[in-house]
Symmetry: C2
Subunit: 589 residues, 2 copies
């Protein structure tokens, strides 16, 4: 019953009009040869087709059937194998991969738009691909030339897939205490032994090989996170010529039965002296893995936007058609038994909350993509450095705020359907279940918040935040919109509060943990206010009476009037400090 | 894996110490002969046993197995039949039923504590019983003596069960447009024809008969809600002597596949000229049904508290045992590989949010129960009238705020578990799925909010709210606590805002709908602030250094410092008014 079609109009608006990507690409020599406005539009259109026509129709059936574990093999739901083959053939796995090894080298600003469509259409399916793309990024950044030449091309082609093996039963957030061991062999390889849990796509029947990136410790490694190394462990051993050989000593012990993303296999992976190859330097595995983790964090953030968009489309369509009660101001469809529920204020409140959070998220994902592209392709080292600082600052915001607001949006989208929202066939409840994991995996949103406030704000004395705040002030000074004053107030509030927290953190070791989640939300609402001002500025620049631009201006007003006030409550909670969190003993809970 | 044990200490604290129920009961002649402190404690202990030992163990298996529809029959999951028989034998269905017909006549103040345990242990199971209790209430209040004599005793005994048949496929919130017809017969009965959906327990294999309360329209009835009548339609026809006769023309066409409460059957019920009996007056069926609906609304509100309590218990236990990372202030368990996560500020924030919302909800349920008891048993008509006004005002708050905060709590409880929270065997994700329906059924929380602001506040010019506000001021004047100033501020804010909305509503027909949900939340946080002041006052009265009382005081501080500030953001959104909700056409969404 549910259907999803990418909102190409908004994707183009954000890419071309808000962030003027083609002009940026033309200014960056590497990208200038690869992409222009027409190529980008053609890719977006193809992306809309593959996600809407090929993957969306498998979303409900995938949820009902689920991934199955049969004697160590994983069977994905009906249609997934064929769809993955078509998808891989289209080159989507390597969309922003390194062209030297077969990737398409497309900018992240474009890739984020595609990722949103992918998660919106079918989050379970999307994960198989997302893990491959992330693994490629880590291999490309840290592995030897030989490993790159051997592993990247089939990964970009989608013939092989990737996985990320961090978590162990006793070690999730706290990776310093992992027990998986790596023993050096005479030939320079390692024997990996240990058990990993929650491995997305650790086993599947979509690709002929799976390349696991595994965190493990050498026998003599230092204790804690500084003793962790990263290894590439293929499911099937690969010959010098790239041919597949014997099975490696890797097996899938079971898969989890989960709340959602049921078509994605979540595996217990056992490594029994499996052959592995070091990626990057010994004992610096965590840093190398962070290349993949930061990729996945933004990607999982985008899952939040994608699920919210899918839920919004369905809720909007339902609200236009479902007849129930009369508008408060009098019947708008007197010829029918009741009015469509989109006339009711509270239904509009829910839809506009979804719409304005999702569109701001879409813009912010493109903005972070722009910084990633600048960090990679800008010629000026100072520009690269600035972009890297922004990426570091904004990645935890993107991951956690996209998914927290994505979850809120999907819950609204379910609520718009009334009782039907709770029934499986309508699809809205699946989106709630599927998006829920995005607040948990790739580092819980609580961990993202600690990373933001502890490392990315307090850790550098607020320097990165100042970059962001100054950019916002500069933009506002150059672009008049009705919301500039509110935006500047919000930025001022964020900076004041950050300064206050910098002081608090000096005297109170619990200050950061006590404030972090509310702080991240306050940061997120401020960042979205910036996005809405940029969208209004772009809509004004269009000098058009197209209803699309009027809708953008009206949506911005809703965001500033109805959602941004949430920061007032958040500030109140933050300023209460940590004391009341620690006045109960563990036994008094 | 999950287990639930009722928190008897807190139940007794609220009943005896906060609301001093035994003294109240002693002052009300009808209740004085039925119950005293010892009886109440004995019932609570038995309730804890039946819910913890009998029903909680069937919760996970019930979710996995689900209710099944086989050729028109519903099969409840393994163990439900036997458990229901034991449960009914204990007299729990008729706990607060009319003693004249076999009920136990227990006060609502006590019954709400039991209902919480029931939903906490097994929400699906609870519903079969809750519908019976509600149906009894409507029959007792509105049916003829003959119907009461014939139907109430077996319902109270639990040999038969009840159902509430309102919704039709095209008519959920908007009951005025139902199509089910009732044709008068020569013998005074009616033939009921039509199809109802979303009927909880419409068919099941737990009881030998099911008594449906059905909304239908006579052929010549006025259009809209003023043409609706209420009928009692038994699944099996009942002879004059109470014996079971032929099957009535009622059948279950299918059951829904849902997000949660999977062991509860949600039925499509077809009435094909079924024999029915009028309950109450013709065309006044909606008012009669509201006796049942208001009962169910409070009951479903309590589902929110029950699920939150179950989630809290599991999250607290997990947080005490799960070892991960070190406390920010230095290791508290240096002999172990990491500290229990309850040392971390953000874990404490989640647990304390759950704890303080749940305990305030528990107190507020008891408070509403007290008003229901006063409305029923007080000898002074003025006291009854005042209590009725408070019940009318507070029922939508209880239904919606208990379940919105209950959902928030269950999401926190899942988050505390990290990745394990997403895995079915741990039980936390089931609670999220099960509690989610409580925000939707028995009138969505959006509808509750319209009822509160439109009918219960604006509708009487704020008179009912003044009663509540005056009571709070009187209490605060007589009981000094550290939070009185904050409570009085919150009440002042609520009253000011209500006055402002009364004015807005005169000029803007959309004003109520635009503000209603945020208004209900602001009301709820204010009511919970009152509950926390009452709990602190009771804890102070105890003059005890028992850690329990210290814990109450510390929890109150958390509530006032960290959660109550949310009203600031809510007020900001409310004062923005309705304009931004209506600046987009339906096509611009």
């Amino acid at each position: 019953m549910p259907s999803y079609k990418a909102d190409l109009r908004d994707a183009r608006f954000i890419l071309h009009e808000v962030f003027e990507a083609p002009a940026l690409w033309a200014s960056l020599p590497t990208l200038a040869e690869r992409i222009d406005a027409d190529t980008a539009n053609a890719i977006l259109e193809e992306a809309a087709k593959v996600t809407g026509d090929l993957l969306a129709p498998l979303n409900r059936s995938g949820d009902e059937e689920g991934a199955k574990w049969i004697d160590g093999q994983v069977q994905t739901p009906a249609g997934f194998r064929e769809a993955y083959a078509t998808y891989a053939e289209g080159g989507w796995v390597g969309l922003s991969g390194n062209p030297e090894f077969g990737g398409m080298g497309m900018p992240k600003m474009l890739a984020v738009a595609f990722e949103e469509m992918l998660y919106a259409a079918n989050s379970s399916f999307a994960l198989y691909s997302a893990l491959s793309s992330g693994a490629c990024l880590a291999i490309d950044a840290h592995a030897s030339e030989e490993l790159k030449r051997r592993y990247l091309p089939p990964l970009y082609e989608g013939r092989w897939a990737g996985s990320m093996c961090l978590t162990e039963a006793h070690a999730g957030t706290d990776l310093g205490i992992i027990r998986t061991r790596a023993e050096p062999q005479a030939d320079g390889s390692y024997r990996i032994t240990g058990s990993k849990i929650f491995i997305t796509g650790g086993e599947q029947d979509l690709t002929e090989n799976i390349i696991h990136l595994v965190l493990a410790k050498l026998p003599d490694a230092p204790a804690g996170p500084r003793g962790i190394s990263l290894f590439l462990v293929p499911k099937v051993l690969v010959g010098d010529d790239g041919s597949l050989g014997a099975a490696n000593a890797v097996s899938c012990g079971s898969i989890e039965h989960k709340m959602g993303i049921k078509a994605s296999s979540t595996c217990v992976m056992n490594f029994d002296g499996a052959r592995g190859y070091l990626v990057g330097e010994l004992n610096k595995g965590l840093a190398a893995m962070f290349t993949m983790m930061n990729y996945e964090r933004l990607s999982i953030g985008i899952q939040g936007i994608g699920c919210a968009e899918a839920s919004y489309q369905a809720a909007r369509d339902y609200a236009r058609e479902r007849l129930q009660s009369r508008a408060a101001t009098g019947a708008v469809a007197p010829e029918r038994v009741a009015d469509p529920i989109i006339v009711h204020a509270d239904v509009r409140r829910m839809l506009l909350t979804m719409k304005t959070l999702t569109e701001a998220g879409r813009a912010f994902a493109c903005y972070v993509g722009q910084q990633l592209d600048l960090a990679k392709y800008a010629e000026d080292p100072a520009q690269r450095e600035r972009a890297e600082a922004l990426v570091a600052l904004l990645t935890p915001v993107a991951k956690a705020f996209f998914t927290d607001t994505g979850f809120e949006s999907c819950v609204h989208g379910q609520q718009v359907f009334g009782g039907h929202g709770y029934i499986r066939e309508w699809g809205q409840e699946q989106l709630v279940r599927d998006v829920r994991i995005a607040q948990i995996y790739e580092g819980t949103n609580g961990i993202q918040a600690l990373d933001l406030l502890g490392r990315k704000v307090v850790g550098n004395g607020g320097a990165a935040l100042r970059l962001f705040a100054e950019e916002i002030r500069t933009f506002a000074a150059a672009h008049e919109t009705p919301h500039n004053a509110a935006l500047l107030d919000a930025v001022e509030r964020l900076e004041q509060l950050s300064g206050w927290l910098l002081e608090q953190a000096k005297g109170d070791l619990n200050a950061i943990g006590a404030a972090s989640v509310e702080y991240l939300h306050l940061f997120g609402y401020t960042a979205y206010a910036y996005m809405w001002v940029r969208m209004v500025a772009a809509a004004n620049r269009a000098y058009s009476d197209d209803a699309f631009y009027a809708g953008k201006r009206a949506s911005a007003a809703f965001y500033f009037e109805r959602l941004l006030p949430r920061v007032q409550g958040l500030e109140g909670s933050i300023r209460a400090g940590s004391a009341s969190l620690y006045s109960l003993d563990a036994e008094q809970f």
